[in-house]
């Protein structure tokens, strides 16, 4: 009889980041079903799904309930860093593994966690390298009062200092705050070269709408002159923000516009499964990737024993929508290709041509900044006219 492995899935489908949790859950379930339907693996996953409903204090106990009985040894899930920090002591205690599949702020490399999402040298660094070459070195930094915003803005300040630029201003809003009037006034007054947006959810949507309104009044704030750059704006959020997001730029390890055959086939399967209107973002693909990487490791070892999976995970190369996935054995972070996309009508990102190079994970930012294209020589930047070249 075919072997069955239990797999914990821990995403919130309610609360302030419900849309992202739903993406993670949908991605994990699709991968589980594909593994179960495929003759290649010789085993099936049985998903044990838990939903903390957006309450971060529920993640620890719910993860504990999943792994304590001993059957579930791998848990896919968590969107926020708070939830990850709640789950880590639980998986450490029970010698289980967490598969965390979201972009995050780095400065962590836990042996009990596989990191499938981008760390700062795979999101904010490439974004800044592009912005410095294209728009200038004087950003305005905005973020939510949360570790994601604090840490990305801190890295941004360091990059600006390194690049010989200047921070035009910096403002953090309380989580969930949509009162962005003062922020917009300050940006209008300081006229930065671009805006780095590390706001989360509703704050981010309110900000993009208000910035759009500002651009209607003053053409100096049109996206082609002074764009808003985000590390966490996804396809599904473009639908929520509406036309105000158009022209602005985001980075992600996956956009649904990646022009590969694998991606087209993958999107076809998503549409067949979930309907043609289903959005697919890096959060969906991150969870999908985690399940396929784990499945490949189990196929090779014949067990879901965490130590055995640790030993082979970096040798597995599952084929994913964005190409083969590799894992850095030292940090257990994914080797990713950071893409830059410009929002276009239809809720999609158009890829910028000069992006799409493989970047090794460096969660502690241990590599010299000079290695980052566009940040080495502050005099090499072209801060005049924007020149967005687009992939056909």
């Amino acid at each position: 009889m075919e072997r069955i492995f239990d797999l914990g899935v821990l995403y919130s489908t309610e609360g302030s980041y419900a849309a992202l949790g739903q993406q993670g859950l949908a991605g994990a379930r699709m991968a589980i079903d594909e593994v179960n339907a495929s003759p290649d693996y010789g085993f099936s996953f049985r998903a044990e799904i838990a939903d903390p409903r957006g309450r971060f204090d529920r993640y620890g106990p719910m993860c504990d309930a999943l792994v304590r009985p001993g059957r579930v040894r791998h848990v896919i899930g968590g969107i926020t860093s708070w939830s990850r920090k709640e789950v880590i002591p639980v998986v450490e205690k029970h010698e289980a593994r967490l598969w965390y599949a979201c972009p995050y702020e780095g400065f962590e490399a836990n042996d009990h966690v596989f990191y499938l999402g981008a760390c700062p040298n795979q999101h904010v660094l490439p974004l800044f390298a592009h912005a410095f070459e294209t728009f200038g070195t004087r950003p305005f930094l905005v973020g939510s009062n949360y570790i994601w915003g604090w840490e990305n803005n801190r890295i941004a300040r360091e990059l600006v200092t390194h690049g010989g630029g200047e921070v035009a201003g910096e403002r953090c809003l309380p989580l969930g705050d949509t009162d962005v009037g003062r922020l917009i006034a300050e940006i209008r007054e300081t006229r930065p070269d671009f805006v780095l947006n590390n706001l989360i959810g509703p704050s981010s949507y309110a900000f993009l709408r208000a910035y759009h309104a500002l651009a209607q009044e003053d053409a100096a704030f049109l996206p082609e002159r002074r764009p808003v750059l985000s590390c966490n704006l996804t396809e599904l959020e473009l639908d929520i923000v509406g036309p105000a997001a158009i022209g602005h730029i985001a980075t992600a390890s996956y956009f649904d516009s990646i022009p590969t055959g694998e991606n087209r086939a993958f999107l076809g399967r998503v549409a067949a499964r979930l309907g043609p209107k289903q959005r697919v973002s890096a959060f969906f693909v991150g969870a999908y990737s985690a399940v396929l990487l784990l499945a490949e490791a189990i196929r090779r070892t014949g067990t879901d024993d965490p130590a055995a999976i640790d030993a082979v995970a970096a040798e597995c190369r599952p084929i994913l929508p964005m190409g083969p996935l590799a894992l850095d054995p030292l940090t257990k972070h994914a080797v990713l290709t950071p893409w830059l996309g410009r929002a276009v009508p239809g809720g999609r990102f158009e890829l910028l041509e000069e992006t799409g190079r493989i970047v090794m994970p460096d969660p502690y930012m241990a590599s010299p900044l000079q290695d980052v294209r566009g940040l080495g020589d502050p005099t090499s930047r072209a801060s005049q006219a924007p020149r967005l070249r687009l992939v056909q």
Partner: protein, 204 residues
């Protein structure tokens, strides 16, 4: 939020882990590799003999459980780099010893896969702050020790040039400013130039 200093990059740093071969040392070396710090384990001796050696590391992690004073080529508390204690036993005597040795912060054993980056950052800042305070203290102590010279130089100018104490002191200050010297150095220079004998002569 408060504005912070840029985080130091530990990428060019060398660390020594003064601990016998043990999973705690292995886990620490692994974390250091992830952070980009080149690290070596050694026990019981440090691989350099004197305080000023060019081979000395940028940071030392030492075993607070089995460590002892003679392992270090400097007096307790005089380490020329940040030190981080690796604490297993929380017995007060061992913690006392680690503090006397000059631990800037600590990591707890067993060492897992977190805690080292934070410890490096805290130790780095604590050491820099301690260095700055010690330099300031040394300067103040030097100043205090040389109060006599200032008093004598003021007296010399009073007697020699028939000045009031206020005017004599002001002249010393002016001399210090014009020569870009500290008040104490200007006092020494005045005494050396005119010699203490001058005071006696004028008085006679």
């Amino acid at each position: 939020m408060t504005r912070s200093l840029p985080a130091p990059h530990f990428r060019s740093w060398k660390a020594l882990v003064l601990h016998r071969a043990h999973p705690a040392a292995d886990a620490l070396l692994k974390q250091l590799e992830k952070i980009g710090v080149a690290a070596e384990q050694c026990w019981p001796d440090l691989p350099f003999k004197d305080r000023g050696s060019s081979e000395r590391p940028d940071v030392i992690f030492f075993d607070a459980d089995m460590g002892y004073d003679e392992q270090f080529p400097w007096a307790p508390g005089q380490a020329p780099m940040p030190q981080i204690a690796m604490i297993g036993s929380e017995a007060p005597g061992r913690i006392e010893w680690a503090l006397r040795q000059g631990a800037d912060t600590h990591v707890l054993k067993p060492i897992g896969s977190s805690g080292v980056f934070g410890a490096l950052l805290i130790a780095h800042r604590a050491f820099a702050r301690r260095q700055a305070l010690e330099a300031e203290l040394a300067a103040l102590q030097d100043k205090q020790g040389r109060r006599t010279a200032v008093a004598r130089a003021t007296a010399l100018l009073m007697v020699r040039d028939g000045l009031s104490d206020k005017d004599a002191f002001r002249r010393l200050q002016t001399l210090a400013m014009a020569s870009r010297l500290s008040l104490e150095d200007a006092a020494d220079a005045t005494l050396a130039h005119f010699g203490d004998a001058d005071v006696g002569r004028n008085r006679a």
